[in-house]
């Protein structure tokens, strides 16, 4: 019968230990998931910004668009150090394939010769070079500040659209602003471009690229109908010479000069955007930790309760140790070691659980969530900080249990 006498409390202690480790594991897994996925997404975004082919962006999205886009190419291009200026107009239009069915596509109007140099290292391989859109300067159609020159009516389509609508180079594609095909204009498909993986933004899977003036004309921007100004873009991407890009003060000088030309628009350098992204990343990481602290507090509360329960269970053992003359620090050390052991096991379980959870989401989740999880970064420094934080906090939980243990009257513990 005697072995059974010890078997019961042992099983009980094991169950408590398992529950404490599980609670700590869940508490650690949350920040692991948030920090690794959040950090991964930001690192990706930052990488895109840092690897873009342009260094300065002028923006005025919406109905207040950038007026006189063609003129700005000349003005911005005259600033010392500027090598290319690429205005872009992005508008959703309808594309009608040979069967006559309409699909919404994101149309980007560009000046072909200026657009290609703005492509970053990740994008440049996705587009034909040079862009087969005829009229590389867009000035044949936009002749003398009018739209009276001959239009090429060339269009490039994205590979997802081409695949799903059986469109290929040489096909005809009708484009219009409304769902009424009769108002659409026929375009020649002169090329296919790939689509880079995107994250946390509109997915440009169904997209087309055409000369800026064609899109302005098609959508009414060129005619100045309604409240929309003619010759508009929503973004102008500016490429500077390598020596300027490498020198922050030179880059800022160029940015300032452009800003002075267009005081109503936003002009920012991508290094500024990168700094803003990093700042936002720091804020969000802090937020993740704050959010996770709720789970950690619950986990640590559970750990403290388990340790207190152990103290109660080991009341007699503690009394015996104290009676024999073991110093307080020996009792405290034993409880601290138990607390650290449980929290270290919980932290290990949490790290593993968080890692597996992220991998599971990356494999089995859908859409953007899956893409975000695929970008997760497991930074040893951040994970180490989480583990150290948990171990540090577990000392507090152990201190609560130690205080309780040292307040047990020896003679009562031995009764």
């Amino acid at each position: 019968m005697k072995p059974f006498r010890w078997g019961r409390p042992l099983r009980h202690a094991r169950l408590q230990a398992i529950l404490a480790v599980a609670a700590m594991g869940a508490a650690v897994a949350l920040p692991v998931v948030l920090v690794s996925v959040g950090g991964g997404v930001f690192a990706h975004e930052l990488s895109e910004v840092e690897n873009a082919g342009y260094q300065i962006a002028v923006s005025a999205p919406g109905v207040h668009s950038i007026a006189d886009a063609h003129s700005d190419v000349s003005r911005f291009g005259a600033v010392p150090g500027v090598t290319y200026v690429s205005p872009i107009l992005s508008i959703a239009v309808n594309a009608f394939n040979s069967s006559g069915s309409a699909s919404a596509v994101l149309a980007e109007g560009v000046i072909p010769g200026q657009f290609s140099p703005t492509l970053g290292s990740a994008e440049s391989g996705l587009f034909p070079n040079p862009l087969p859109l005829g009229d590389p300067t867009d000035l044949i159609h936009y002749a003398g500040g009018t739209y009276r020159g001959p239009a090429t009516n060339d269009v490039l389509v994205s590979s997802p659209y081409a695949d799903s609508h059986a469109v290929h180079v040489g096909s005809s594609l009708a484009l219009g602003l409304t769902a009424n095909r009769s108002g659409a204009v026929a375009y020649n498909v002169t090329g296919i471009f790939g689509v880079a993986p995107t994250i946390l933004g509109p997915v440009g899977a169904f997209a087309i690229l055409l000369p800026l003036s064609n899109l302005q004309l098609m959508t009414g921007y060129a005619n100045g109908t309604g409240t929309i100004v003619p010759d508009a873009a929503d973004t102008v991407q500016v490429v500077v010479a390598g020596s300027v890009a490498a020198n922050p003060s030179s880059l800022d000088r160029v940015r300032s000069e452009i800003q002075a030309m267009v005081p109503d628009y936003g002009v920012s350098s991508l290094s500024q955007e990168a700094a803003q992204l990093q700042s936002a990343d720091s804020v969000l990481t802090g937020f993740y930790f704050a959010l996770s602290s709720v789970g950690l507090a619950v986990g640590l509360l559970f750990l403290a309760l388990v340790l207190l329960r152990r103290v109660e269970t080991d009341r007699r053992s503690i009394g015996i140790r104290r009676a024999i003359g073991l110093p307080r620090r020996a009792i405290a050390g034993k409880i601290l070691a138990e607390g650290l052991e449980l929290s270290a096991a919980g932290a290990g379980a949490g790290l593993l659980g968080g890692y597996l959870l992220v991998r599971g989401i990356a494999t089995y989740a859908t859409s953007t969530v899956q893409e975000a999880a695929q970008l997760a970064l497991f930074s040893p420094v951040q994970l180490g900080e989480i583990v150290l934080g948990v171990l540090g906090l577990s000392v507090l939980a152990s201190a609560v249990a130690t205080r309780s243990a040292l307040r047990i009257p020896i003679s009562e513990a031995l009764r």
Binding site: A323, I324, G325, L326, R328, P409, I410, S411, L414
Partner: protein
Amino acid sequence: MTEVRAPRIELAGVTRTYGASTPEEVQALRGVDLTVEPGDFVSVEGPSGCGKTTLLNLLGLLDSPTSGEVRWDGRPVGARSDRERTRLRLEGVGFIFQRFYLLPTLTARENVELPMRALRVPRAERTPRASALLAEVGLTPRARAYPHQLSGGEEQRVAVARALANDPGLLLADEPTGELDSRNTRAMLDLLVRVREARDATLIVVTHNREVAGRARRHLEMVDGRITRDVREG
């Protein structure tokens, strides 16, 4: 190991009340006056619940009186810090508890080594000493056994070996032979008496056993928390 001589212990008007001002209030000791000289061999007898164990706890610094004073070598115990009392227990007191109180997660040898570990005795010194003590109580073959693998008598003998581990000047034994047969009782008594004589230690034994009480030099009898008889032989 530090040489600790047996203390002179005085109890002056000591009372000990458990659960004071509650319906469960128990007056375990009522105005006890007692002086234990170094080297005394005292037996304490009396019916169950008369306060024998409480007296032992107060003598061994495990408990504090509700009123009155306990003095070790003339110095009130209440004036000593908890750390000091702990150190005195570790270096100077060996307890043999009524219910053995071995630590269930430690082997017999580890239980015996525990007080030495607390005193930071080097392993090279404490392991042979633990083995010698276990041999002295006849438990060499059971050194690696856990308490639940030992019989009551064996547990009692391990408890005695543990109490002797730090060569204490004061040995307090609460029914030390309660679980032993007559042959082992005699052997245990011989061991305790031998240790006491070798170190001139004080030995205070709570017992119902006439044979054990008969070996003592001084006999206390307690009734209802009071010492009703105190007889010194020779």
